[in-house]
Symmetry: C2
Subunit: 312 residues, 2 copies
């Protein structure tokens, strides 16, 4: 029931000595997915000892270099490591044209593994589904077509209480039935209520990734009630005009989105290099949304299990 | 009279947590040139505080990703920093096709600065000439077309001895004449010998870059007597077969080339990640060529002024 996010890079536009460009690696139930892949992502994956051969799904928000230039190196390294398993890319369609062009930096057709390319589309869409989680995409408001993502845990079945299994000598079929919420009526007329022998599963958790974008309140509907929101925060309030001009957000604006969405926690990153001291971002966001943390390269956040659902 | 080389990356094939891929930055009389530009080069340039906006000439040895994938990020960063000055690229012609294709990762035609592309050619060629130095290219023996480079200081004029200027009250025209090696005959018949009032200039220095290549003795003629030779050393002697198979060199082979070329100093790098302890490279090369140093990310080497030329 692991659900962790490791932020590999927190710079905006261009990297510097302490901040790599954007990339987030998620571990959900032991499966790894990568969101964005700025230059040097493979270096960060090695530094933080991520078994990156196990990444089978890569999501790219938009085609500014600081969000995808690391892909060429990663795809090449997979070749050197003799990767055989398929790799799925979810990205703006122009990336397909680039990678499959004869002038591509990586000769995709000569790779020893297969790339499945899934172009991102307009609107709110389910883009990937696994046994335990799924990923949806939605549009942001940036200078070029840009998408945000929400990674959602699937609703789990209720847990059967161990002592009740013994008390009623529940068989496998009976256990599966009560997990589906069905009451049991035995041949001898005995009734066992599903509610009595189970506890509801924890609420499904979610992680939302919103970068890069101008202050864009329509995003709220896509990420309502999310457990952890990553929102870009390139500027601070005194440079709000510059933020609007360059289609980026301020720390305050990121916090306003978190508040409106009812997020449980906010993590901000993608800081402009113009600010020497990033604590101003935290101060500004914290005034609007208290549970804010400042991202740094390597920050690992665990999304805790939520309170038990009351509906069941 | 600065002539320094800073090695920014020393990994082979793919980077790891401690070693970035290949890139060398040279400072010659305050001018910067970059040789190779693996992924993350701009991060290293920032880490080592190189004023990389001043790089106007970039040389790319071959089109394996670990030698050029950092170029996309660097070109983009120059755009973000509003670079205006021309940039010269010396590289295999396929890089031109890639950068100027509509599917290029960087939209070269939209950059605010001009790129001059100089394709590398067969044979030994002068590829770039500056006031104080010039660069020549020559072919290596790798899996794809690959070039080595030699950066040579120009022969400087003799120095005029200060005390002699005073002794003879030498004028500007006279100083320029003796620097050209011409004796002075004054109107009063006084003869001032150029040799008497000057000391010969130091020998011109050179830096040779040889990566990637199989053991290739023909390279020796291109780098004869070089002051500092960088030679790739991907493997050690026990893996000599693997080196030949993959068109790479061993530490011993690098040292043999240094010895045959009469180099003053050898620096080896491009180490395969298979060797945990790189001291074996130094031990092996040192047996053949004593003045060998082991490269590490950030190593800075100064090429010292040579003994005074005796011919003058």
């Amino acid at each position: 029931v692991n659900f962790t996010v490791r932020i590999l890079g927190t710079s905006s536009a261009h990297p510097n000595a302490n901040r790599f460009p954007t990339s987030h690696i998620l571990n959900i139930y032991g499966k790894y997915i990568l969101i964005d892949c700025g230059e040097g992502t493979q270096i960060q994956l090695r530094k933080f000892k991520i078994p990156f051969g196990h990444i089978n799904h890569i999501f790219i928000s938009h085609l500014h270099g600081d969000h995808f230039f690391g892909l060429f190196g990663l795809l090449s390294t997979y070749e050197l490591l003799h990767r055989g398993s398929d790799l799925h890319l979810y990205a703006p369609v122009q990336l397909r044209d680039m990678l499959f062009s004869p002038q591509s930096p990586v000769k995709v057709k000569e790779l020893p593994y297969k790339i499945w390319f899934h172009p991102l589309r307009k609107g709110h869409n389910l883009v990937m589904e696994d046994k335990n989680f799924f990923v949806e995409s939605f549009e942001l408001d940036h200078r070029i077509p840009t998408w945000g993502f929400i990674v959602k845990e699937k609703k789990r079945k209720p847990n059967v209480i161990k002592s009740k299994i013994e008390e009623y000598s529940l068989g496998i079929e009976e256990i599966l039935a009560v997990k589906r919420g069905e009451d049991i009526i035995r041949d001898n007329g005995q009734v066992i209520k599903a509610k009595e022998v189970t506890t509801p599963a924890p609420e499904p958790r979610s992680y939302s990734f919103v970068s890069d974008t101008r202050f864009f309140p329509p995003v709220v509907e896509h990420i309502k009630g999310t457990d952890l929101l990553y929102h870009e925060s390139t500027f601070i309030k005194k440079d709000e005009d510059l933020a609007a001009q360059t289609y980026h957000s301020t720390a305050e604006q990121a916090a306003m989105i978190a508040k409106q969405a009812g997020a449980k926690q906010l993590v901000i990153g993608h800081f402009s290099a113009r600010y020497k001291d990033t604590s101003v971002f935290l101060d500004e966001a914290g005034k609007v949304f208290k549970n804010t943390v400042l991202a740094y390269d390597g920050l690992k956040l665990e999304i805790p299990l939520r309170k038990i659902s009351s509906e069941e």
